[in-house]
Symmetry: C2
Subunit: 152 residues, 2 copies
């Protein structure tokens, strides 16, 4: 884990503590994994996260991972992006939006400037994205180059 990842995890733990939540192994593990994933290919599904934790020797129940993630989302520490039938999670410590391949689930970040017009249009019809603790943000669903060329 890089220094920056450690810092982001620590910042998230501080927010948990301020919310009156305890600093448990399960929560640290989930945060570590999310911080690591955001640096990598992007967000993680619950089962990916669970497997990664077990592989690292952090023994937690799947139901616990679900509960931890729900809390992180409620606190605005993590955010969700639905991909097909599953939900993926990422840290929400920098404002970013997503482009998702609906076929393979590959995900890229989009800068806030690029989606500003979409956000404004949504607000104009009554949907506000500045709502911590709720799923929010812009998601562009499409297909990645690889899935297009291999016709998946």
């Amino acid at each position: 884990m890089t220094t920056s990842e450690t810092e982001r995890v620590n910042a998230a733990v501080q927010r948990l503590r301020r919310a009156g939540l305890r600093n448990t192994a399960a929560r640290r593990g989930v945060l570590d994994q999310l911080a690591h994933a955001v640096g990598g290919r992007g967000h993680l599904s619950v089962s990916e996260l669970h497997h990664a934790l077990l592989a690292r020797g952090v023994v937690v129940e799947l139901s616990t991972v679900h509960r931890v993630l729900r809390q992180l989302v409620e606190l605005g520490i993590a955010h969700t992006v639905p991909v097909g039938r599953t939900t993926t999670f990422g840290l929400a410590d920098d404002i970013h939006h997503h482009a998702v391949c609906g076929t393979c689930g590959d995900m890229r970040q989009l800068p806030a400037e690029a989606v500003a017009a979409s956000v404004a249009a949504a607000r104009a019809v009554g949907i506000d994205t500045d709502q911590s603790g709720h799923p929010n943000g812009v998601v562009v669903y499409g297909r990645c180059v690889r899935c297009r060329t291999t016709d998946r």
Copy 2:
């Protein structure tokens, strides 16, 4: 059902026929319902659609509704918008994108112009939205006025 709804259903049935698919009661029922819903509050979940069909006397299995919808999406006749853990469906006969309340699932349409910059940004990172038969389009997740004021 208005004249315009009937026309849209007929157009969709023509597309089915051209794809070599039969004009069955289940498919007509689903298309009717989708055409009606798009005129109303927006998209429908599978179970909403199923209940609406049964209420209208169109007796179909839930699994059939799933199968019909999957085919409609594959043909580009319908499109999907994930809302929380469920998927909602709408007719795709006009190009539009969506703003969704992540709390209550309320949905508004966004014009293509408003989301053009987001689509371009996604393409720049390799995600292309012009892919019929695949989930695509821009979705802005946020909260609607009602859920914000009632703090749901």
